[in-house]
Amino acid sequence: MRLRATGLRRVVGDRTLWSGLDIEVGRGEVVVVRGPSGSGKTLLLRALAGLDPVEGDLTLDGVPPHTMGWSRWRRRVCYVAQDPPALAGTPEEFVRQVSSLGAQAVAEGATAAVEPMALAATWGLGEEAWTRPWTELSGGERQRAALAIAVATGPEVLLLDEPTSALDPAATDAVEASLQGRALVWVTHSAEQAERLGGRVLELSA
C-alpha cells in the first residue's frame, strides 16, 4: 500500500500556499508535516483526504481517487481534525452512524478491526465519555474519541492534524505508541514529537 501525491499546488485568494509538493507514505512509514500557522498544513491533509480541492496528482497503489471513487478514497485515506467539531449527539451515536455507512462494509486492505472504546481507553478516555454529548466533552476528549473512531474504521493511511495537541504527556505517549506501524501523515508543532515519531519531515513555509 502506498499513497503518492505529486505536484500538489494550492492557491488561496492571491496567495500560493505550496506548489510542486510531493508526498509519499507507505505502511509503517511516517511523514511529519511542520510549518508555521497559515502555511496550509490542515489544507494539505484535507487535500490528501479528498476533502478539499487541490491541483496535482493523487494515487493509492497507483489508482487515482476518481477511478477508485472518492468516498472509497476517503475511507482508505482518513483525515482526523485537530479540533473535532462538537457535533449533535454522543460519540457512541456517531460510532453507530459511521458503522452504518454502506461503504464501511467493503473497506478493503483494512487493518485489523479495533473497538474504538477499548482503544481510546488505553489513551485514558473513560467509557462514560462515549455516552456524553460531544458538546460536553473537552477538546482532549473529543480528540481521542474522534481519533479512536478513525482508527477503528480501518483506514490504510491516517492523516492526523496535531492529534495530541490537547492531550497530557502520558496520553500523548500512549497515542504515539498505539499508532506505530501504520501509514501516517502527522502534523505537529512540537520538535520533540517530530523526533520521537521519526520518519521524513516536510517543512512548509508561511
Binding site: A49, G50, L51, D52, P53, P65, H66, W70, S71, R72, R74, R75, R76, C78, Y79, V80, A81, P84, P85, L87, A88, F94, Q97, V98, L101, G102, A103, Q104, A107, A146, I149, A150, T153
Partner: protein, 266 residues
C-alpha cells in the same frame, strides 16, 4: 341553480377598503408594512384582472399551444417565487425549482385532467389552468420551505457532514438526514390543510364552485381531488428540488462546498 351574483368594480373597491384596517394596524404597531401592503394590493388587483381578461380568449381559442405557453409561464413564475422565498441560495436553484415544479406540478395537473377527471381533450384550459394554478400555488410553498430547510441544515450542519465524508460516507449518506427533514418540512402545510379542511376552512376551489352553482357534494369531490393532487405535487416537487439543491452543494468529487451557499440579506 344559477351562477354567482355578478360583481361590479365598486364592490371590489368596497372590499379593498377593508385593507385600511391592515394599514392602521401597521402604522399603530410600527410594522412598516404600509408600502408592502399597498404594492401587494395593487399587484393582486392587476394580476387577477389580467388573468380574468386573458383566460376568456384562451378558453375560446381552444389552442393547446396557447394553453401550454400559459402553463410554462405559470410554472416559471412559481419557480421564481419559490426560490425568492428561501433565506439561502445556491447556484442553479432556479432551474432546480423549475424542473421540480414542472415534474411535480405539471405532471400531477396533467395526470388529474387526463387520467382522473378524463377531460376531453386533456389540455382543456377550463380544467387544466385552474388545477395547475391551485397545485403550483400550494406546491411552491412546500418547495420553498423544503429548500430553505435543506440549505439551512447544510450550512449549519457542515461540520457533521464533513466529518461523515471524512469517514467515507457518500454525499448521499452524509446528507441523507437533511433531505428527509427538508421534505418533511415541505409537506407540513399541505398535511395541516388536509387535517382541518372541511371543519375549520372551506378551501378556495370548493368555495368558488359552490358560489358558481355546483352542488356541494360535487364541489367537495373536486376539492378532494385537488387536495390529493397538491399533496402528491408537493412531495414530488419538494423531493426533486431538495435533491438537486443538495447536489449543488457538493462538487464532482463529492466534497462539501459550503461556500456555494449564500445567505440573502435581511
Amino acid at each position: 341553480m344559477t351562477g354567482p351574483i355578478p360583481l361590479a368594480p365598486w364592490q371590489i373597491a368596497a372590499a379593498a377598503s377593508l385593507l385600511v384596517v391592515n394599514g392602521l394596524i401597521s402604522v399603530w404597531l410600527r410594522l412598516g408594512l404600509e408600502r408592502t401592503l399597498a404594492v401587494a394590493t395593487v399587484r393582486s388587483v392587476a394580476q387577477l384582472a389580467f388573468l380574468g381578461l386573458i383566460l376568456e380568449p384562451v378558453f375560446r381559442a381552444g389552442s393547446p399551444w396557447l394553453v401550454g405557453a400559459i402553463c410554462v409561464v405559470m410554472i416559471t413564475f412559481a419557480a421564481h417565487a419559490a426560490v425568492q422565498r428561501s433565506s439561502r441560495t445556491v447556484a442553479g436553484l432556479f432551474p432546480s425549482s423549475l424542473l421540480a415544479l414542472a415534474i411535480g406540478g405539471g405532471g400531477t395537473a396533467v395526470l388529474g385532467t387526463a387520467a382522473i377527471v378524463q377531460v376531453e381533450p386533456w389540455w382543456e384550459p377550463r380544467y387544466l389552468i385552474p388545477m395547475l394554478g391551485m397545485i403550483l400555488g400550494n406546491g411552491l410553498t412546500g418547495i420553498s420551505l423544503g429548500l430553505d430547510r435543506s440549505l439551512q441544515q447544510m450550512d449549519e450542519g457542515r461540520d457533521r457532514i464533513d466529518a461523515l465524508l471524512a469517514f467515507g460516507a457518500t454525499p448521499w449518506e452524509a446528507s441523507g438526514g437533511v433531505a428527509g427533514e427538508a421534505v418533511r418540512t415541505g409537506m407540513i402545510p399541505i398535511l395541516n390543510s388536509m387535517t382541518v379542511v372541511g371543519i375549520v376552512m372551506i378551501p378556495g376551489m370548493m368555495t368558488g364552485q359552490i358560489l358558481g352553482g355546483t352542488p356541494p357534494v360535487q364541489a367537495a369531490l373536486y376539492q378532494m381531488l385537488i387536495l390529493f393532487l397538491i399533496a402528491a405535487a408537493t412531495a414530488i416537487g419538494t423531493l426533486v428540488s431538495v435533491l438537486l439543491s443538495l447536489r449543488s452543494v457538493f462538487d464532482e468529487a463529492g466534497r462539501l462546498r459550503p461556500e456555494r451557499i449564500t445567505r440573502r440579506a435581511g
